[in-house]
């Protein structure tokens, strides 16, 4: 029976059918599945499955990424309130769109996935200065700064990631805080992230969540 919930939930995600996904979870809960099992054995594996589909370059689209993240975030938030004990948070990330950039879809996908993966993610919004990114990361004791840029001039401009790198260097924070970038320009040039001083990049929101988790583990292990 549990396997059927997993299967039905995954199908709903692929079909971008939020109502069906929520119905599966509600039925599972009413039949005795715990909120912890819903998050860790249904929702989180579905996000990881989507990550794998993206990594394998199989046929997925932005709508599926968006819905995977959106549904995962909503269900996780509901289930967390019903957990028998607070879950262990694996780390923290601050996220925002770079200075001059008003696009917000990518970071919403990343945030949704991170929430379901037990990462505390702080949304700084859009059009964020480099100083605000670094100050917020320090204030929240975050291991990762995630910067979304959808235009070439915001991805490579001096007031964006380049300045964040400079500030991290000046303040001696490079080992404590990692910088990841994402957004359209980076998809066209896979080496572009190195020229803006980032530690890593992701071609989409789903992959970004996975890489952010890896960066958190790297910082914690160092």
């Amino acid at each position: 029976m549990f396997e059927q919930y997993v299967k039905d939930y995954n199908e709903a995600i692929i079909e971008t059918d939020k109502e069906a996904a929520i119905a599966v979870v509600e039925e599972a809960i009413s039949n005795g599945v715990t909120p912890e099992e819903v998050v860790f054995k249904i929702v989180m594996p579905a996000v990881e499955d989507m990550m794998q589909l993206v990594i394998d370059n199989l046929d997925t689209n932005l709508a599926q990424h968006f819905m995977t993240a959106q549904i995962a975030a909503e269900i996780t938030e509901k289930m967390l309130a019903q957990f028998s004990a607070p879950p262990e948070i694996i780390g923290k990330a601050v996220i925002g769109s770079s200075f001059g950039d008003l696009h917000s879809l990518g970071k919403r996908i990343v945030m949704g996935c991170l929430k379901s993966m037990m990462v505390d993610v702080i949304d700084l919004g859009v059009n964020i200065t480099a100083v605000d990114f670094v100050d917020a990361a320090v204030e929240h004791d975050a291991q990762v700064i995630a910067v979304s840029s959808m235009m070439m001039h915001t991805a490579t401009g001096e007031e964006g990631s380049l300045q964040i790198r400079e500030l991290l260097h000046e303040r001696g924070l490079e080992k404590k805080i990692k910088l990841i970038v994402g957004g359209s320009p980076f998809r066209y040039d896979k080496e572009l992230y190195t020229s803006v001083g980032a530690d890593n990049w992701a071609p989409d929101g789903i992959s970004a969540a996975k890489i952010i988790c890896q960066l958190i583990h790297e910082v914690k292990a160092s």
Binding site: T16, K18, N61, M151, H153, T156, P185, Y188, D189, S195
Partner: protein, 340 residues
């Protein structure tokens, strides 16, 4: 032959001395006139002068009568555009802040009479007078599935498309389709030869092929009202190969601005001689290429597409970070390898 005749030859499959070579110098005008983007885009005269100077400097085929995409939102009530020191301006104030605003959204009866249309009209008028009989003049129009992004942001639009009330989504599509129809008509009337028809939700990178066929395509048909003359299908640089066949059959669009992320060989095979394959070089990668790498990539693309005609070489969005020598090398190589 003039560049305009060369373009017509490529569209119709007639013999021509070379392929058309298009450059999308959308962000370069302000620098050409030593102006900020805000100052430059404030007058159609400046925009036309910038395009004419660029045409003279580089010798490519086409000019643009486009200011910035946010102008469409301004016609529909947007109060603030974010002008960077350099680069593309973007919409800061969304016209649709809540779903209730969709009902309140009004499409002007005649957008060509709207004050915000005037800069584009003035630019187009000057370009038509100066080069209208010799060079292709390009315009930009958002499709019904793309205009909502400028009105409410991609995040909220995606939310409405996938999770919101369908009647509200369709109401917004109807209004945006009405706007698109008017805009296409106005561009044609004012002398634009090419209309880049931007369809963000017309790529399988965004939504499923099923949803494109069942939802986006019928609205595209409504946008274009059975007349796809001069229309170029463009997905904002996202891949489109998998839907070209459907769009060609259902909507009748004959020209496709293929993404650098698409397989050009496959695109050419799909489109064949039934339409125009427009190959876009990856000019984000080109920022860090050498002149030799730039020439090699131009050669590679043209060798794939040139055989059999019905082919155009073009840039993508040409970021300002492109080295001057690479721009020159790209255009020179396109003329050299594009000889027929």
């Amino acid at each position: 032959m003039t560049p305009l005749e060369i373009l017509v030859a490529a569209l119709t499959g007639q013999a021509a001395p070379r392929i058309p070579v298009f450059c999308n110098f959308l962000d370069y005008g302000p620098g050409e006139l030593n102006m900020t983007p805000k100052e430059y885009f404030s007058r159609g005269e400046y925009m036309a002068e910038g395009q004419l100077k660029l045409l003279k400097r580089y010798g490519h085929d086409n000019a643009w009568c486009m200011s910035y995409v946010g102008i469409e939102a301004e016609i529909l009530g947007c109060q603030e555009i974010l002008f960077p020191k350099k680069g593309a301006p973007n919409v800061k104030d969304f016209v649709i802040k809540s779903w209730d605003d969709i009902e309140r959204l009004t499409i002007p009866e005649d957008i060509s009479q709207h004050p915000h249309w005037q800069t584009t009209a003035d630019c187009l008028s000057i370009l038509s007078q100066e080069i209208g009989t010799t060079n292709p003049i390009c315009a930009y129009a958002s499709s019904s599935n793309t205009l909502p992004i400028l009105l409410m942001g991609m995040e909220k639009w995606m939310e409405l498309v996938l999770m919101g009330p369908k009647d509200l989504r369709e109401e917004l599509m109807r209004k945006c389709s009405d706007f698109c129809q008017q805009q296409v008509k106005a561009f044609r009337k004012a002398g634009a030869h090419i209309i880049l028809y931007a369809t963000s939700f017309g790529t399988p990178y965004f939504i499923s092929k099923k949803m494109i066929a069942e939802w986006a395509v019928p609205w595209m048909k409504n946008d274009l009202q059975g007349d796809a003359g001069g229309i170029v299908y463009y997905c904002g640089g996202a891949p489109m190969n998998e839907v070209v066949d459907t769009v060609m059959k259902e909507v009748g669009i004959g020209a496709y601005y293929i993404s650098p992320l698409d397989d050009l060989t496959e695109a050419k095979k799909i489109i064949n001689s039934n339409g125009l394959t427009c190959a876009a070089i990856d000019d984000i990668k080109m920022v860090h290429w050498t002149v030799e790498q730039t020439r090699a990539e131009v050669k590679r693309l043209i060798e794939i597409g040139k055989t059999g005609g019905h082919f155009l070489f073009g840039s993508s969005l040409m970021p300002l970070e492109l080295p001057e020598e690479n721009i020159v090398a790209m255009i020179e190589a396109a003329f050299e390898y594009g000889r027929q």
